[in-house]
Symmetry: C2
Subunit: 243 residues, 2 copies
């Protein structure tokens, strides 16, 4: 438990919700390794100077409205980019390796980030604790159920998009007022800005890799926004009332 | 509105829920056409007598626990099966065509089945009407929001698996007792048996194609089970109290 004394009114928030990928457990580093493998495998099929990584990102961006988030969407985009950037010269052996990477990403064990278990155990003592994540339904569900701290979550929401409308709907489902809600996550675009917009509090915890399509400016100076260096600092921030 | 007279107590059910794919709109026929295209495209790469369709189904079955349901899962399995059954001899041109089929399936407009709009309009007058579907989050959401009758649904649930535990959770979310709940769908395995198991009512409406992995025996004679030929008969069945 945190050493901070609570006021007589009890906790400042009813629900503290956490993003999952790159907040509770490693994820983007796996995609990053897959991108590196893609670049290595395709390099012999393209002219020097072709930017394989940006081709892959552009394909993901094009497909995002139709494919959505997650490993399967990434995998289909990676296969498409391989065929396209190599002008069809990619071998079936390389295609098979790319499919193998997708299967590995989908079946890799969950790797909790340092301090996560302690923080969730701590906050669950006097808050409802939730996970709000986007991505693939089957993959995210598997990660939640196998992460070892599943029993501490009062709510798990796997959503299509993290926009203000979605957070409003989820908060209604949780039966919590926005000013009694705090979101914790590594993406300013998905975890911070939409929550501030609907009147909630939000704490940014950085992860060392951020997906190109998640980049956004930090709302520095916003009264309901916090920044910490590590998830271990979150309980103090939460109990000090988001100041 | 149906001509059946209601008792003074009002409708027999509080919530009537519909499966989506092949109950509200066409879906399996698209997969079936994709399977046919797969068989045509791969036929020149395999020996006579190789059963391409069963190879594809076996690959889907193997990947189901990791990939889940939906078009993206199907697409990844189809690409894997193409590489595997051709022993790597499949051309990049064929791989590109298979990826194109996946994109087409994901972006094809919704085709409502005959009578669906009338039935939903009718039942929504005096019931809460829901959609409970499994599959891909982004694809199923897009189909629901573009189907033209989205505004008539009180609840939309996109679930990982249609088992008794999931139905129990969804019914708690709907705040409805099982005996006041009726599920309508084309899959005995997913829409009928688990609902009967938790004490709900269920009506089977056949679709002309059923996915190999959805096949199950009908619970003929079960007191809370109904079978109709067409969705147009559902309002009468529902209003006559599931008899």
């Amino acid at each position: 438990m945190s050493g901070v004394t609570l006021g007589r009114e009890g906790p400042r928030f009813d629900v503290v919700a956490f993003d999952a990928d790159d907040t509770l457990w490693h994820s983007e580093d796996g995609f990053h390794a897959a991108e590196n493998a893609f670049c290595d495998l395709l390099s012999t099929f393209v002219a020097d100077g072709v930017d394989l990584r940006s081709t892959l990102t552009a394909t993901e961006r094009k497909n995002l409205p139709t494919y959505g988030y997650g490993v399967k969407a990434f995998g289909l985009s990676m296969l498409e980019a391989a065929l396209s950037v190599s002008q069809g010269r990619v071998t079936s052996d390389v295609m098979d390796k790319l499919l193998g990477i997708v299967r590995e990403l989908l079946s890799a064990p969950v790797r909790l980030l340092p301090g996560v278990a302690e923080v969730i155990v701590d906050l669950a003592c006097d808050h409802r604790v939730a996970v709000i994540t986007k991505g693939d339904l089957v993959h995210q569900s598997r990660k939640v159920t196998t992460c070892g701290i599943d029993h501490l979550f009062d709510h798990v929401e796997i959503v299509l998009e993290k926009d203000p409308e979605t957070y409003s709907r989820v908060l209604r489902e949780f039966d919590v007022e926005p000013h009694r809600f705090c979101m914790v996550g590594n993406s300013v675009k998905s975890d911070i800005l939409p929550v501030l917009e609907i009147g909630g509090h939000a704490v940014h915890v950085p992860y060392h890799v951020l997906w190109e399509l998640e980049k956004a400016d930090h709302p520095v100076g916003h009264g309901r926004f916090g920044e910490v260096e590590s998830i271990a600092e979150v309980p103090d921030w939460v109990r000090q009332g988001g100041e």
